[in-house]
């Protein structure tokens, strides 16, 4: 059964120094507030896993929480580059950042394999590209029936996963809807999980397109209204596109970013 508590309790219980951790949410429902709490709790040495690192990982990387990034697309969606990510890769500031790079299809299948208790996934992917040469984690695999050669990627085995959802009930059953990305897979691929929610309600009324994670498959739940800002929670908030633009200016300059970081703490 999921434990219901505060954001600070949830982050402390779920995200530990040195963890391989995923904060997921595909544009929608990105758990920004939990990311900020990780920065405040000075958690270090994280291997950050996420399909689209986005502004949330730009912040965690700039704050020095990360040692490695496993990802498939690292940009500020609709705006441009992630400057803290680039600064870490190109100039090792504030620390070197190891990269493991995949395609979306590869990452999605790695989550599925992790959620499925399998050591690897098979896909038609990466063929002809220079990506396999950069990692041990993309290998050929031969179909035992047809002889066809496909691509294998290892399962994501996460220490921890953090997602944001619209709501949970008092038993800790979690409900999310709209664009649901790979959030269910991230939680199921992780040893420990934290779900921040817009609200905790007496009963989860069914919603079309909703994904429900039963309480017994969830570690911790914390009510954090607005916890996805500047991303959004369908039915509760809209995306703060202006902040994504502003982030370009904040993050472009180390001093400007450092001021933002001090304000956060």
């Amino acid at each position: 059964m999921a434990r219901i508590g505060t954001l600070a309790e949830g982050v402390a219980a779920v995200v530990h120094d040195g963890d391989t951790v995923a904060f997921e949410g595909f544009t929608h429902l990105i758990p920004f507030a939990a990311g900020h709490e990780v920065i405040r709790q000075r958690i270090r040495g994280l291997t950050l896993v996420r399909m689209t690192p986005d502004v949330i990982y730009d912040q965690l990387i700039g704050a020095g929480c990360a040692r490695k990034l496993v990802f498939s697309w690292g940009g500020n969606p609709g705006v441009g580059s992630l400057h803290r990510f680039r600064d870490a890769v190109q100039h090792e500031w504030p620390a070197p950042l190891e990269l493991e790079e995949h395609s979306h299809a590869g990452m999605a299948n790695r989550y599925v394999a992790g959620a499925s208790g399998l050591p690897f996934a098979v896909l038609r992917g990466y063929t002809g590209t220079d990506l396999p040469a950069q990692t041990e984690n993309i290998k050929p695999i031969t179909c035992p029936f047809t002889g066809e050669v496909l691509t294998a990627v290892p399962a994501l085995k996460l220490d921890s996963a953090v997602i944001h959802a619209q709501r949970a009930d008092r038993q800790g059953n979690v409900q999310l809807w709209g664009i649901t990305g790979v959030q269910k897979e991230a939680v199921l691929a992780a040893e420990r999980s934290l779900v921040t929610v817009e609200e905790i309600v007496d009963e989860l009324e069914p919603v079309p397109g909703a994904v429900v994670l039963p309480s017994w498959a969830v570690g911790h739940v914390a009510a954090v209204p607005g916890g996805a800002h500047p991303s959004y929670a369908a039915g509760y908030s809209v995306r703060d596109n202006d902040f994504y633009q502003e982030w370009d200016a904040i993050s472009r300059d180390r001093d400007e970013f450092t001021r933002w970081l001090e304000d956060l703490k």
Binding site: T27, W73, N109, L123, T127, G128, I179, V182
Partner: protein, 242 residues
């Protein structure tokens, strides 16, 4: 003009995999002009989205609200893209070479110490592999149009004919590069992209100067039609609504 040319490239009724930015604008323009039954698939998991304004991100709420079906991201790639159910994929590029190979990963230096770190692959490698055809939309410049890309993020025709087949790629690969200056298409024999259309007001010399390889020209070189009043007004309305 780049957007209008991209919209015109979409036939009515096709299923189109759309990224944010110009491809999304072009696809939504096409849906309001020449291709009312165009099916838009966004990688965020919306099948058949019918946004009444331009979405601002690939996960814009308007996409889920107007879609025929909203599915998880693994399903987008596994059930819909991978089996070849998508007719047209739109891709952008930081670099593209004469065989239509695309780089969105790193420029200069080497992979571990690049001069410029780009966003990376996203859905592109499998879009390039699996869609029946790929349309690349990119501004033309010698820096972007290079003889050989620094890093192959998405495979076009490799180093020439037969390579896609040898690798077992099932999609048709890049069939069109639409730029701000014109349109390039692969030569059927060599797979090298050659200029097939000049946009209005553009001279051949301009395009050659903006290309980092010795650009071939199709014997059937023609000029793109000027954007119609309808195209321009729909485009203005789309952009104003966002």
């Amino acid at each position: 003009m780049m957007t209008v040319a991209a919209a015109r490239a979409l036939n009515d009724g096709v299923v189109c995999f759309v990224g944010i930015g110009l491809p999304s604008t072009a696809a939504n323009l096409a849906r309001r002009t020449n291709a009312p039954n165009l099916v838009l698939v966004y990688e965020s998991g919306t099948l058949g989205a019918k946004p009444d304004r331009l979405p601002l991100s690939i996960g814009d709420g308007i996409l889920a609200e107007t879609a025929d079906a909203v599915i998880g991201v693994p399903e987008v790639f596994n059930y819909w893209l991978q089996p070849g159910r998508i007719d047209v994929g739109f891709l952008g590029a930081a670099q593209i070479d004469k065989y239509g190979n695309i780089n969105t990963t790193v420029i200069g230096g080497d992979y571990h110490n690049p001069k410029v770190r780009l966003p990376g692959a996203g859905g592109a490698p499998e879009i390039a592999a699996s869609c029946k055809e790929v349309i690349v939309v990119v501004r033309q410049s010698p820096r972007a149009f290079v003889d050989r890309v620094d890093f192959v993020t998405s495979f076009g025709f490799g180093r020439g004919p037969g390579e896609r087949e040898a690798l077992g790629l099932r999609g048709g690969g890049p069939r069109r590069i639409i730029t701000d200056l014109g349109v390039l298409q692969p030569d059927p024999d060599t797979c090298e992209f050659v200029l097939t259309h000049l946009h209005p007001g553009v001279e051949l010399a301009d395009v050659k100067a903006a290309t980092g390889w010795d650009l071939g020209v199709s014997p059937d070189l023609s000029r793109s039609a000027t954007p119609t009043e309808e195209e321009l007004s729909v485009l203005r309305a789309l952009k104003a609504a966002s």
